[in-house]
Structure formats: structure tokens, C-alpha cells
Amino acid sequence: MNDMLVLKHISEKYQDKTGEVEALKDINLSIRRGEFISIVGPSGCGKSTLLSIISGLLKPTSGEIYIAGEPINGISDKVGYMLQKDNLLEWRTIYKNVILGLEIRHMLTKENIAYVTELLKTYGLFEFKDKYPAQLSGGMRQRAALIRTLATRPKLLLLDEAFSALDYQTRLAVSQDVYQILKKENQTSVMVSHDIPEAISMADRVVVLTRRPGMVKSIYETTFDMEEREPLKTRKMPEFSTYFNTIWSDLDVHL
């Protein structure tokens, strides 16, 4: 069994004062080990809801989730979650920030601390470990947030519009940076994005959801004719615009 994440018949209904909202309907999806998946869809289609469900923050109305073959119920330490903003705590040093997850899970072992130190060194933040977040650039802060998540060695990483708080140029650079880190660590990842080019450039497969209630409309395997994939360079490839046009027409956007 080589699937890291399996979703079976996931449905979600919201209840609130004004009534019932059917956010997701019968989502089935399998993600392979080491694979990078992007989920795109029209706004309000339940993309972020799906991530919340996978992370265990939200209980699905029905359906089952398996991570590395085990059923998931509630927040799992197998999952790492990157939110829109880096959410570094500004009163903690970078080092104190990146060990936050380990601290909360009471996993501050020698071995894990050594792993964090190694991550900081590999990704060029070691010399900044005693600085405060306010002293770092947006890109470096995002890197610190990624290390904070990776430090807990998640089997599955979720990225919820993880770069959308950055300005466009930083965003291009950071998505390239993060992609390379994730591929190097052979990290299985699911990214939700409203940015189609970003989704195509980073993902091995792009999942397109329908309008609410969100269902899987189509899945595209994105392959590029290049030795080693770099998100920035894929944008110049001829296949890129083909993928873009197909996904765009799938999204069926009307004004």
C-alpha cells in the first residue's frame, strides 16, 4: 500500500443560524507517498474545508480518512499544517518559534532538537536562530514557519493558500524555495490554492473541484519535459499554458 492519504466518500454540511450549507460532497482521493497535490476550485467550493477535515480540525459529516493506512479521528500528529500567514510568535526567537510544535506535543527530545538544528542549518536560518521574527524578511519567515511544521516530521503536509499573504515577487521565490525543500525531504503534500499557475507549477497532480457542493471534477497529472523540475521554469514550458487553459475551462468561471 503506497498511498499516504486516502479520502473515502468525504461529505461536509455546515449548520448555522441561516440554514444548512453543503460544502463538500462525496470526495474520493488517494495521494501517493512523496507526491505533491494541488487542489483548485472556484471560491467558496470548500477547498479550505477539505484541508481542515484532513487535518482533523473539523469532523466530516460522513466519510473516512486514512493516513499511512491508519484511520484518522481528530487532530493527528501525522499531519503538518501551513496556514496563509507564517504566524510566527513575535515574542519568541526564531529558534523558539521553530520548536513550538515539538514543545506543544511534548516531543523536545535530543534527537528532535538535533533534527531542527539540521533543518535550520540546511535551509540557511541557523545564524538567525536568536533573532526575532520582525527582524526577518517575508521569505525567511515563511521558511521558518515551514521548518516549524517539518520539525514534527509530519507524514503529510497541508498548505492552505500558504503563500497568499506574500507580495507577488516574494511569492514566486518562496514557492520555488518551499517546493525544493519539500522535494528534498520527500514530503507528501497537499496544497490548496486559488492561484492556478502556482498550482500547476508546483503540483504533480492538480485536483479541480466543482462549485459548491465541492466534488472532484477532474484530476490532471502535470508533467514537464525537463530534467529537474523547478516551479519557476515550468511557467515557460509549452505544456504550461495547455494545462492552464484546460483547468481554467474546467473551473467554468463566469462574471
Binding site: 499544517y81 504566524n87 510544535g101 506543544i104 520582525a134
Partner: protein, 275 residues
């Protein structure tokens, strides 16, 4: 990274800008001193020239005399009593208020249940509780402390709870994704991000506690600045009243500055943002 701060590297415009801001600062300070000095001078002269009745308005020179007289008598006692009552009431209010806010944050249900009561208690003029307090805890220092507590408590609860509730949701979600318990959410995110809220409420409270203490001393006391003011008023010794009011304003300012100092100290110890 930005413009160098070394003297040699400063441009002409930068020097003139620095000079202007410094001059402005000095001129504001000088005008403040002049205003104060002028006010006292006019007061003194008008009283000397019998343009105002110094029996009713008192007079700076007489205030000084009263102050000297008071210092050699029992000023320290009155000062001590008022400060003691204020600080005890203030600390009790801050601790109990913050604790209550934590409980209300912990349980949104209890918080919703308490909401209307808090609103009513907040708008109720606490001085109206004076007679009840005196009957319940006895006519003495304790009644005054309870008065100070009553005035500062609800404000602290509301202020702190508001701060807790408005902590960035994304940060809370972030620690939740690591499986943080409610206790961890509080200690790792909510409390540290509300230190500034805490100090803001302390700054408001030190003043409010003093209001409570003076009001309490008006109602029931044997010593304290409030007692001096009421006593001076009753025997028509305006010199004593004015002197006490001036001492009181200095005490108020010093207590406030004390909180500001504490805030700076705490920030220096734990928070180095933008250093």
C-alpha cells in the same frame, strides 16, 4: 541597511530634520513649565493684590507653608495610608480581574451567561455601593480597599476578556494544528500576545483605584489624603484642601509612571521586537 546613522554620513537635510525635531521637543517642554509657573505666579499675585479671596482660593505661598507644616507633622502617615490602600486595591483588582477574564475566556458558555450582569455592573456607579460596603466589611481601611477594588475590577475583566477574545485567530489555529490543549493555547499564544492589553488595563486601573480610595476616604476614614481633603473642607481650611489635592496629583502621576516603568522593564526582559 537604511540611511547610516553615523555622524559623518549624515546628510544636510537629515541634520536639519534632527535639529528641528529636537528643538520642537524642547520648546514644548519649556512652554509646559512656563504655563505651570505662570499659573502659580498669577494665583499668588492675584491673592496678594486681594483680587481674589485667598480664604476661599488659598494661595501658593500658603500652600507651601501648609506643606512644610504637614511634612513636620503627619504627612507621611496620610500619604502612606492612601498609597497602601491604592496599591492593595489595585493589585487585588488586577489579579482578580485577570483571573475572572481567564475563566470567562475558558468557557464561552459561562461568558455568555455572565454578559448582561457584567454590562450592568460596569455601568453601575460603584460609589453607590459605599454604604453597603461599609456595613459589610466595617468602617475602616478594608472598606476603602474594597471600594478601590469595586471600581477597578469590572473594567479589568472586560478589558482583558476583550483582549483575549481578539487574539489573532490564525495564531490560535496554528497551535491547534499541533494539537494544543486549551491550556497551551492560553499560555503559549493568548497570554503573551495580550501583555500590552494587560499593561493598558493596569494603567487605567491605577487611576481608577485611586478614585476608589479617595471616594472611600471621603465616606469613612481616619487618615489619608482623602481624609485630609474632606476634613479641610469641613473646617474651611482651603490651604489644607489645596495642598492635599496637589500632593494627590503628584502621587497619581508617580503611581502611573510606576506602571509605565514596570511595563518597560517587562518588555525589556521578554520582548525584543524590532531591536
Amino acid at each position: 541597511m537604511y540611511i547610516s546613522n553615523q555622524k559623518a554620513g549624515l546628510s544636510k537635510e537629515r541634520i536639519s530634520y534632527l535639529k528641528r525635531t529636537k528643538l520642537r521637543k524642547i520648546s514644548i517642554f519649556v512652554v509646559q513649565i512656563l504655563l505651570l509657573a505662570g499659573f502659580f505666579a498669577v494665583w499668588e499675585i492675584c491673592a496678594d493684590l486681594k483680587m481674589i479671596d485667598s480664604f476661599i482660593t488659598s494661595q501658593p505661598s500658603r500652600i507651601l507653608k501648609t506643606f512644610a507644616n504637614l511634612s513636620s507633622n503627619d504627612l507621611l502617615l496620610h500619604l502612606g495610608v492612601t498609597c497602601y490602600e491604592t496599591i492593595v486595591g489595585f493589585l487585588l483588582g488586577a489579579c482578580m480581574g485577570t483571573l475572572t477574564a481567564v475563566i470567562l475566556w475558558w468557557s464561552p458558555y459561562i461568558s455568555k451567561v455572565c454578559e448582561p450582569f457584567l454590562v450592568v455592573l460596569n455601568s453601575l456607579p460603584k460609589i453607590a455601593l459605599g454604604p453597603i460596603i461599609i456595613i459589610w466589611v466595617g468602617a475602616g481601611t478594608n472598606a476603602i480597599i474594597v471600594m478601590a477594588l469595586a471600581i477597578s475590577l469590572i473594567v479589568t475583566v472586560l478589558e482583558m476578556l476583550n483582549g483575549f477574545m481578539h487574539t489573532e485567530q490564525e495564531k490560535i489555529k496554528m497551535v491547534q494544528t499541533f494539537g494544543a490543549t486549551r491550556r497551551q493555547i492560553f499560555t503559549k499564544v493568548i497570554f503573551p500576545s495580550n501583555l500590552s492589553t494587560l499593561f493598558n488595563s493596569l494603567k487605567i486601573n491605577i487611576g481608577l483605584s485611586l478614585v476608589g480610595v479617595i471616594a472611600g476616604e471621603f465616606l469613612v476614614s481616619k487618615a489619608g489624603l482623602g481624609y485630609l481633603i474632606v476634613y479641610g473642607g469641613q473646617v474651611f481650611k482651603l490651604d489644607l484642601v489645596m495642598t492635599s489635592v496637589i500632593i494627590l496629583s503628584v502621587v497619581a502621576a508617580l503611581l502611573y509612571e510606576g506602571v509605565v516603568l514596570l511595563e518597560r522593564l517587562v518588555n525589556k526582559c521578554i520582548n525584543h521586537t524590532g531591536a
